[in-house]
Amino acid sequence: MLIARASVAAFILQIFLSAKAFALAELQTGILPTAQVFMQADLVFSSHTTLLFGSDTISFGPYYAFESLSQNVMDQTYGAALRIGHETYFEIDGGYFERRFAQRHTRLKGQGYSLNLVLGQHFGDHFGLALIATNKRIQSGDLDARTIYDLLPFFTLRESF
């Protein structure tokens, strides 16, 4: 177990050290927070994070999405992202998707895949906008099988290193 952890840590360190070998290494998060009190209180927080390596033309790297869609529903996606372009870009990302539904005496989980098509525009070094079209599919698990489509704008924060 210790060796496994050490090798994961070494792998992550290797990624960060090798980042200098790429023309572009960039950490970016797209965020969409909303809060609403209308009949009931709803807090929605969606985030899509990528760590991309490559050039201004094409870059690739891991992708993670965390979305809290209500006080009961949490979505997570673990996968990879491929981006074409830089200041203005097109990105395709996605991977393994799971949704957890929780109430006081209930814990349910559904699994499947999630796929995003992203159109983005940076403004300066740190801020930008992204329009994300999502297809999520819950295929197995405790939750009913379903297909979900979303189209939402996100604002993005990025840091190159």
């Binding site: 489509y149 979303d150 939402l152 704008p153």
Partner: protein, 147 residues
């Protein structure tokens, strides 16, 4: 009704040509179930606000509408007066009245920090409180454009 509308148009366009701004956010969600098609849901939410201010950092009349996913044909419409500061990071605030066909009339106040990306594009985070009518509190990002 037509007279009220014409009067509002005159107020918007009478004394000066305003710097028109539009800001808001919209989202679509479609969920279809393999074995429970009666539970399928289709949602479209739109929040949009138009500023008819003297310039992009001045004051003036604003108008907004909010059409939530489950009441998309019943929108909450707001008209009021707002103030906006200048700079890359800015503040905006406003007061007005709102009307919703289902919930009735109410008063609205908002305060909003924002950041300007370029001469035209900006992002703001209004906190909108409505008392009476729809009786709601909202906080969400608005994507904006100055024409």
């Amino acid at each position: 009704m037509a007279r009220v509308f014409l009067t509002l148009l005159l107020i918007f366009f009478s004394t000066r040509l305003p710097a028109f701004e539009i800001e808001g956010i919209t989202g679509v969600n479609v969920t279809t179930y393999d074995e429970a098609s009666d539970a399928n849901s289709y949602g479209l939410s739109v929040v949009a606000k138009m500023n008819f201010y003297g310039s992009s950092n001045d004051s003036g009349v604003f108008s907004s509408f909010y059409c939530p996913a489950n009441h998309v044909l019943l929108c909450n419409v707001t008209v009021g007066y707002g103030w906006k500061s200048s700079g890359t990071w800015f503040f905006e605030g406003g007061l007005g009245g709102a009307y919703h066909a289902g919930f009735g009339a109410g008063g609205v106040g908002f305060i909003s920090p924002g950041v300007r990306f370029s001469a035209n594009a900006y992002l703001s985070f209004p906190i909108i409180l409505q008392l009476g009518g729809m009786q709601s509190l909202m906080w969400l990002p608005f994507f904006g454009y100055t024409f």
